[in-house]
Subunit: 482 residues, 4 copies
């Protein structure tokens, strides 16, 4: 059974996948904690469903407090202390954050959302925020103890998250040295964060995405009163360790990041960080589902032997492990490329366009793989796979959210098409893969894509999916071998 | 949008799929009721999770009463009154039952399990039961009012349901004119049924499947006391309209069906009925998920138009509708063949072997399709697809149970291999398809299968999956065209 | 055991308590329905806890729909059809409504809140509404089928319900032929009603209670859009068959009832109807708890005999039944007096002041008795009294709400003091009781009360409780005998 | 407000009530932990309702694991480490245990049940267990770290807990050096304890209480397999921090404590420890409800001032605080007397009989007071007192369980009568109170009791309640002054 052993531990998997793995000692000690402590906490939070919100204190004042159990914060703070946030700024690299996100997601996929959106709050603040804003807010986010502030990224409104140009109706009015925001955010992750980056439209700005700007919005006003209101939490079927809610902004104090005219670029940079995290969480989740399936298949007996020894199932483990490695290689490439470009500003260079295509491919493919693997792990468990009690069914619920937030497969495909069309990102990719893949294969794919891009618009969309999938698999497998 | 209209109504779909549809008026009036009344009942039962069991009355006597809401019984009895059970015996055909199961599953996939296991109780009773047993029990099952008894099929024990020969440890001891059963059933569907068929092993019988016998076990003893004990209900993630529990048999009164030596045949006949039902429920569920996705895609606006008009999504609706029709054709063929052979007894003829292969293909493929379609419908809904509140995520939970119970895909593939190997069922299938498919295609597939069957055992299993999948798709698409 | 038989049926109790009971046939047929149908519905709703609210439809539009099970409406509508609302206007008497409320509360105490607040909406509309308002809204409330509209009475805001003068901050602005209301209602019973009476303060009105006015607020605006917003439902521990929520009024269309200057009188008239209902529900609930205790005590054996035959317990049943009869007599007197005065307008006559005192005594005492009886019924059941499964503990939760809403005991005592002080209502009461009670007893109590009323304000409050309690008991027992 | 300050802290209350309080430093540091850490844990456990039981592991083996959150054990172990168990044996005194129980109950009333039943397991083991049993089991119970074993006391069966002579049907069969027990325990507190004391009836023993014996039953057999089976947990409405379940004993390994003939004495000694704990928990709970009411009344404004300043409410705080002190004095006297007699063996001396009467009076009166105070605290909070969100309603649920388990008020009254009748315990009590109370009062009460005891049996029971209540109040108030 030794071939499958690396499935059992995210760190063993990372070690096998990444030569000269950085932060190995840190990861080792973190894994030890999560292995021994997190399981009952994580499953208690999942079982509890959507937490209650205590909206008022006894005197009737709005407090909008989310009633997580105390142990939730023990788990949550563990990651911040280990450095999911502060290390990015100490190392000037996102690598340690994504390594921790991978490792922790094996144990609780939802908790990495707070980490990711905190990162995606600190990044634009440190890059585009005025010195005054930075000195006022950044130290809170970079604390290494339990007083750390969390960040959040609130873009989506009631009309949906794909078409932000039409969907963002929150209005920003200038008011002295700051702005006042009014509007409703419909899917607001980490809804109790102390600081959020928020997409809004300054009064009088252009329609569409060009009129959007990115604002920093603290949870409390300068006078200490509540600055944002949590209308309610969403009854999500999974990722219950991140509270996702509906947020009401009502003349909420806000601070502009960058200049109003280039807000859409800042918003997309924020999404880059989340999209890459989604890919890392997806491969970690797939590994976890396989690890659980492995543990079961090693002990369950049918027809006189352990079911892992049944040829069909054994073969499935082998081929799925190969796919997991390829999916990881693809996700990891999106991490490496983002780490190169996350400090770049518009107008962006080709490395950024390459990153964007790889990120779309990775987001798309790792989520598909996570869903498929979670489904398979349930089937390996047979009847008990359908019981809430045994926790296997949870991975499919978690995976489905990974497949949807940060853009469904439709979105990745169409956005991937766009970056190929406008920036010829597929050619950048094929250059990037030149050492790894046979030239003829690269040429064939290139001309197929060019043919696709030359089609009339509707036809192009219709035919895009199989080719995009093939491109993802091709890239993944050659990165793996490379 | 007219091409997708048949998705909205199971009856419209049936009418398009089955020429000269029987019982059309009945289906019409039933559909009317389910459309107007069932939605709040069905979703309330799903939201409520696993129901409570009141195990004792106030005096401490065991009653093991499942606390469903009153409206559950309104919904449940609707199907019995319409004839999911009695019509099979009046018409001497399973067709009306399966038509009703399809129609009702569109509205509540779980409720068809009670209907199916009741049918699978009445069938062996009427076929193998002594005249005394029949006259004592059958009239209760065939009632047309709310006093109807329900049936249940309890096979699986703690060691799992695939390998019944090793797994069934329940022991039967003769006691006068009846038997006494002692053992635990671990996944007992419809755990409050008044009558169950139960697999057990008579004391001293052979080991393995040859030593199994099938017994009839009423919920109450002849003296009126409880005959079977419900240890607890399983916390299933879906199909909450059927109570699945752990049953303790403790010297429970039981009656032998058929003779003890041929129990395994009776057990497999019972499973035939469930497996075919599973296929019908799967296609109905896939249709329902598509219907919901359609309703959403028709109203949701993004990038200036309804998302149904986005080329990629529109194309997905078209191709998925074609797949749904093919999946239905395959499932329906399993119904028709079962209707031919359900009264046959061992030794079985070729028609029976053909049925078995088609039933495996249909169970396998329709469940895969239901899962994939439910996942896709969630993605069409974007973020709200992940919220319990909107009910879309439910279809994936329901579909996963369909993919697991009555045998996972592994089971269907391996059992399908066996009937091809032992009974050459693939050749029977190709004969059956001769009018529908090109002879050359049939020949090619035939020789590929023969090549597979000639492989050493382990290798055969390893390579079986893609070919089995191809055979399912091939059969489905040619049945559709035929 | 025959002496306790009337405990088992609310109608038997009413027949014994009220000579020449009106509407006896109606009550008979209604009791038959509630006895056979309501128990599983009522307990399913209680077990389900606070229902979900679906706040948005899939397109994102606010709908604020409360997800009760379908059977909730079956139960709810039963009362409306029987006439809890329309009979008051057909008979020009509240008696049939309160008889039905008593009878139904025996089976589900919470469901009578919707009935009561609907009555308390229709009453001021029919009394103070303009002909145009009446013809527009009243017919909807008086329907006798399932299309009936429900009413609601929304007064309390975040600062509490006792001190309405300070607590009501909702502002009303005139706008053409109607008003626009803006404010938050913090305990809004029957939060999904189609029509509510709402306390608000017209812009520029006097501070305190004199500045309040009463408005009619429909759930939907004239243009069909939502007029009031349900922020959330309260997680009440009982009375779950009435949805109580937080309501946001945001420029909500409203219509003035009566004239703005006398709003406080209208508000108090609305509360009269609820307070009397609370007394009737309390005695019905106490009876129900006793009925359940009786059923248990008749079958439970300890120390060799049924526990009902244990002298201490038997004695408790006897004395508690006597108290129940007295409590009913007091509650019923408040019904009779209200029925005399509900159409009176300010300035009120002495009959109205007498009613007010009796209503305070009855609200206070019946709720105390209900709580004490529910506690006692739990103790009679021993351990199973503490289990949610057996439903006995529910009566204490329900009773505690009866003791709190419509004013706690503090409130009844202090308001009772006031009406004695200002209107000499105790003297009116002693005149009223002259035929029933010995003159010397009346004289003694009268002078004790006068002595109390002569005390300095703080001291008067401190000493009020025991005397108020004695007055309630005295009145109740003499009404019973009378 | 200073007069009420001692309500806020259990330690301040203890210091005021007990001169020269022992273990003051320990209590101080424990209180600090519970004040800062326990609230979110305790309320999360209460909100979560009855925990799940994982009955089988994935391989199907029975494990009967209760799925408490991890933080439950953090809280639970805190008390064991502080010494609720080991200090009794180090100090040879129950005083430190009961002081800790009082203090901890202020923060979580349910968690003291595990402590109490562990104490009530260790006590008879150390008193009546053979040296071999003691050396095998006692060290596990007396550990000072998180590997401590818990105890449990399982007496009650389906027929109820009052009449153990008739109710205990569990049978014990000798088997070598141990016994095998078979039977069902219906209310088994701390159902996952590693060691329980269990009432059972040796085969062939006398009927009634004389035939009972007390056994030690470990959770696991000598061979490591499960020795007792948890059929299910009870859905209690409160005390959710102790798991109460139904236990199946099936040839469970057991060890006799003491000799079989005197089992009933051992059982009653076990109950003594629980009954006294119940009194201490009751007064702590009453204090907690008052502390919460105080915090609310200090901030809530009505009619222009804080409601605590309203004369009626202020007066209620004063008189209730006096009652709380008296109730504590009574409970504490039961602790002191038990500490004198807990090592005594039958035949008992007068001190033991005096203890028994005081324990009955204390159990009765403190529970009544706790229920009444919890109800009152809800009313002080008005509407929010009825909301689960604010946690006040919890105290009434908790208090009702205290009023029922360890014997309802009926039981205390009748058992108190018995010990007065048979042992003249009232005379012992009056001697005991001689220094505290006026001789004439003592004489009057004594003769009233003698008159009561001289009545015919049924009449005696009927008249007992008011006198028993008076005796409790009298004793409490004189102990307080003393």
């Amino acid at each position: 059974m030794a071939p499958f052993d690396s499935l059992r531990s995210p760190l063993d998997f990372l070690r096998a996948a990444i030569p000269a793995l950085a932060h190995s000692d840190l990861l080792q000690s973190e894994q030890r904690w999560w292995q021994s402590e997190s399981a009952p906490i994580s499953s208690a939070i999942d079982r509890a469903g959507t937490p209650w919100v205590r909206m008022h204190d006894a005197s009737g004042a709005r407090i909008d407090e989310i009633l997580y159990p105390a142990e939730y914060y023990t788990m949550l703070h563990r990651g911040y202390r280990a450095g999911v946030l502060w290390r990015a700024f100490e190392d000037k690299s996102l690598v340690p954050a994504y390594l921790l996100i991978h490792l922790i997601s094996f144990f609780d996929p939802g908790i990495c959302c707070p980490y990711t959106v905190s990162l995606a709050t600190a990044a634009p603040l440190s890059k585009y925020g005025s010195p005054a804003l930075q000195s006022r807010f950044l130290p809170h986010l970079l604390k290494r103890d339990d007083t750390v502030w969390q960040g959040a990224t609130w873009m989506t409104e009631i009309a949906g998250g794909s078409d932000l140009g039409a969907g963002v109706k929150t209005v920003a009015r200038p008011s002295g040295d700051h702005w006042l925001l009014t509007g409703d955010k419909y899917f607001a992750s980490n809804a109790h964060a102390q600081l959020a980056v928020v997409a809004a439209r300054p009064e009088g700005a252009a329609p569409g995405v060009r009129g959007l700007a990115l604002f920093l919005v603290p949870r409390f006003r300068a006078d200490g009163s509540l600055n944002v209101f949590l209308r309610r939490l969403k009854d999500k079927t999974a990722t219950r360790s991140v509270p996702t809610g509906e947020i009401e902004l009502r003349d909420s104090e806000a601070y502009l990041l960058g200049d109003a005219g280039s807000g859409i670029y800042l918003i997309l940079e924020v999404l880059n960080i989340s999209r890459v995290a989604n890919s890392m969480v997806s491969v970690a989740l797939a590994q976890r589902a396989m690890a659980d399936a492995l543990a079961y298949a090693e002990t369950r007996i049918a027809f006189g032997r352990r079911i892992l020894e049944h040829p069909l199932l054994h073969h499935q483990f082998e081929s799925r492990l190969a796919s997991l490695r390829a999916a990881f290689a693809l996700a990891w490439e999106s991490v490496r490329l983002l780490d190169e470009v996350w400090l770049a500003r518009p107008p962006y260079n080709d490395r950024y366009h390459l990153f964007r295509l790889v990120a779309h491919l990775a987001k798309y493919w790792t989520a598909e793989f996570a869903v498929d693997t979670a489904k398979w792990a349930m089937e390996v468990h047979g009847g008990i796979g359908t019981l809430a009690e045994f926790g296997i069914e949870r991975w499919l619920r978690e995976a489905m959210i990974l497949a949807i937030w940060e853009g469904t497969s439709h979105r990745q495909i169409l956005d991937g098409l766009e970056v190929m069309e406008r920036k010829h990102a597929h050619k950048l990719l094929f250059d990037h893969l030149a050492e790894h893949a046979p030239a003829s294969d690269l040429r064939d794919l290139d001309s197929e894509i060019d043919r696709l891009l030359a089609l009339p618009s509707a036809e192009k969309e219709i035919q895009a999916e199989p080719l995009f999938r093939r491109l993802a698999l091709f890239t993944a497998s050659h990165l793996l071998r490379g």
